[in-house]
């Protein structure tokens, strides 16, 4: 089977046994790789109702067929699991160099199951697989743990770690790698923590078998030359996602003070040029990437001095806007704290923003926070709360469960401004003035998140108030954007520098021999989308339409100020969006795939 090692590495942490299983070629034809293979494996293997933080849950690490090849930005890996944040399907895509290294070690997929009895890390060097003692690493931050393992094992090892938040099973703990890349969402760091896995260290020296070696080299080089010719490459290299905050503010979509608004005064302090001049010290690329959109920073004031990769747009939106920390240095410091603790910056920014609004409204007070004045705009409060969350101290224990559970426990109507869908905190686009984006987030298969469909540009192109015709656009995006996670490449070439996506079928054929055009790739993506829907239904009896629904703030409170002032999306219009969406997907009115649709997809 060209393009694949043909091997699945399964590590049972309970028994300590590692085994290699053949990868079924039919699975590859139906699911390609990455997120697709992960969905099929986890749907089949995790028993219904399994505790996400129990030994029955599994973590899958899945690069794609293009990962590690001579293709630009071929460094993406999917981490997947049953999410402890949502109780449903969880996956998160990560860059860096891990995907390539797993392929060079001779594996297409790694499955972790069971739970180790004591703190452990996984040592993988080609065929040699060991579960090693990690008691000296336990308690270290995610970045520090990576440094310690590199010092011990050598620079050539690629390492994924969790921080204290993962050890303490904060439901939005992330997996960290490459000193600042994360599988941030859906709490897979907590799943690793529950399995007593502090780190995964891997080194590979094998080759990836290619269907057409000369063709892969020729097409790969052509792809690089096409990237270099992109007119906006320089801008993207300079600022990366750091260029986005002023734009998001200008269209009234910048999450502000726990999504009370979509606009914040002073947003220009987050501009890419400001970030570049105040904190950025270097550009940082993932494997084989000519964009190098990662910005490596040093943030320094009288109070702190820290190194951090970022902040990326989402972090600036959720820490800078949502917690109203109006300084790029403070945002970067908040980013550093989250990275070291191993906390997802998106969820952490939403959770702390929620706590700050509760404090502003007098629902919680300094008695509840052990004396922290949890005010919007306070760096001290953000830092103190992040620490409490990571170590689950005091109110941090409540906040570590995410805003859905925290708001249920606090009560007093706080659910209306607990900004989440399905238990996953909303990522960085206020969407009351963006029906397509609203639909994309409420139907996203991991909970409210932008990396399935990011549809706000559709709203701008088609009209901000328009509902009609948006559902089909969202569905198309929900197939094409995650398709890059099937292939194991970064979507940002296509999203950000208008890279011609027709390169991918060509290079996929050269690598694997598979003749898949975008129609076939998108069909795989639709199959995966329906399968993750079935995953939710398998694990959550009664799951359906009610779960594709935003917090009441978004349909009852108009945006108070900024370019989208006065906008909201009424319940009636939300229902219209969902009706259109379900009908076009071939799902019933409850959002369940019909037998006909499943048969059509071979499910």
């Amino acid at each position: 089977m060209d393009g694949f090692a043909g091997s699945i590495l399964r590590i049972n942490l309970t028994t300590g046994k590692a085994s290699v299983e053949p990868l079924d070629p039919k699975l590859v034809r139906d699911y390609l790789g990455g997120r697709g293979l992960a969905a099929r494996i986890l749907y089949d293997e995790i028993p219904a109702g399994a505790d996400p933080l129990g030994p029955d849950n599994r973590v899958v690490l899945a690069p794609g067929p293009l990962s590690g090849t001579l293709v630009p930005a071929a460094g993406k890996i999917t981490f997947a699991s049953k999410s402890p944040a949502t109780g449903g399907w969880g996956d998160s895509s990560m860059g860096g160099h891990l995907a390539a290294e797993i392929r060079y070690a001779g594996y297409d997929v790694i499955i972790l199951e069971g739970a180790a009895a004591k703190p452990s890390y996984l040592y993988i060097k080609n065929d040699r697989v060991e579960i090693r003692d990690a008691s000296a690493l336990w308690g270290k931050g995610a970045i520090q743990a990576e440094r310690a393992l590199k010092d011990e094992l050598g620079e050539e090892f690629q390492i994924a770690t969790i921080g204290q938040a993962g050890e303490n099973r904060v439901v939005y703990a992330c997996v960290s790698h490459d000193f600042g890349r994360q599988a941030g969402r859906t709490g897979i760091g907590a799943v690793l923590g529950s399995k007593n896995v502090k780190a995964i260290a891997i080194r590979g020296t094998k080759s990836i078998p290619l269907a057409d070696t000369a063709g892969t080299v020729e097409i790969g080089k052509g792809m690089y030359r096409a990237v270099f010719a992109a007119p906006n490459l320089k801008e993207w290299q300079n600022y990366g996602t750091g260029s986005v905050p002023p734009w998001a503010n200008s269209i009234g979509a910048f999450p502000t003070r726990n999504f009370q608004s979509g606009f914040i005064e002073g947003n220009e302090k987050f501009a890419g040029e400001v970030m570049r001049s105040e904190i950025v010290i270097n550009d940082k690329a993932c494997f084989s990437c000519p964009m190098a959109c990662g910005k490596y920073s040093r943030t320094k004031t009288d109070k702190y001095d820290a190194y951090v990769e970022g902040p990326e747009y989402e972090t600036t939106a959720l820490i800078g806007g949502n917690c109203a920390l109006l300084s790029i240095k403070d945002v970067a410091y908040g980013n550093y704290l989250c990275d070291e603790y191993g906390l997802d910056t998106i969820s952490t920014g939403v959770v702390i923003g929620f706590a700050m609004e509760c404090f502003e409204k007098g629902i919680i007070s300094e008695k509840d926070t052990d004396g922290i004045a949890a005010k919007f705009g306070s760096m001290d409060a953000f830092a103190a709360l992040a620490k409490k969350i990571a170590f689950r101290e005091g109110i941090g224990d409540l906040l570590a469960q995410g805003v859905r559970k925290a708001s249920k426990k606090i009560g007093q109507g706080t659910e209306r401004f607990a900004i989440q869908v399905k238990g996953l905190e909303w990522s960085g686009y206020e969407s009351r003035g963006a029906p397509a984006n609203m639909l994309a987030y409420i139907t996203s298969d991991v909970g409210s998140h932008h990396n399935r469909a990011w549809a706000i540009t559709t709203d701008i192109a088609m009209g901000r108030d328009l509902v009609e015709g948006k559902a089909q656009k969202v569905i198309d995006l929900q197939h094409i954007r995650p398709a890059f996670d099937l292939l194991g490449v970064c979507r940002l070439l296509w999203v950000e520098i208008d890279f011609d996506k027709e390169w991918y079928p060509k290079v996929l054929k050269a690598v694997t021999g598979l003749q898949y055009g975008w129609d076939e790739i998108n069909l795989v993506s639709e199959r995966v989308w329906n399968l993750t829907r079935l995953f939710w239904m398998k694990h959550n009896p009664g799951f359906g339409r009610k779960d594709d629904w935003p917090p009441a703030r978004f349909y009852e409170e108009p945006i108070p100020d900024g370019p989208t002032a006065g906008r909201l999306i009424t319940k009636q219009r939300l229902n219209q969006l969902l009706d259109d969406y379900y009908a076009l997907r071939g799902w019933d009115t409850q959002g369940h795939p019909t037998p006909r649709k499943l048969a059509q997809l071979g499910l």
Binding site: G180, V227, N282, D283, M291, Y296, S297, Y307
Partner: protein, 98 residues
Amino acid sequence: MRIRGLFPAPGHYELHLCTQCGECAQVCPTGAIYQREDGAYIIDANECTGCYACVDACPEGVMYTHESMQVPIKCTACGECVTYCPKKLLAMGTEGGK
């Protein structure tokens, strides 16, 4: 070429490139490494015995070995890295330069 990331601090990369300094040729016991007309040092695979004296001697640490090959891997000054460096940081230099 060898690129080493210095993270989390000081947060930059250390670059090591073959300067075609010829140390490898000097230590080669069989004379398998010769200098081409353009100044680049090239390994003659037929003469190499795989002793790796050159790998140890390389001052920049940019001669590689791989378990599937007896002959070490060395820069041949083909210029591909210059063509494909996205930041355009690399240029072909003169002998002894970078």
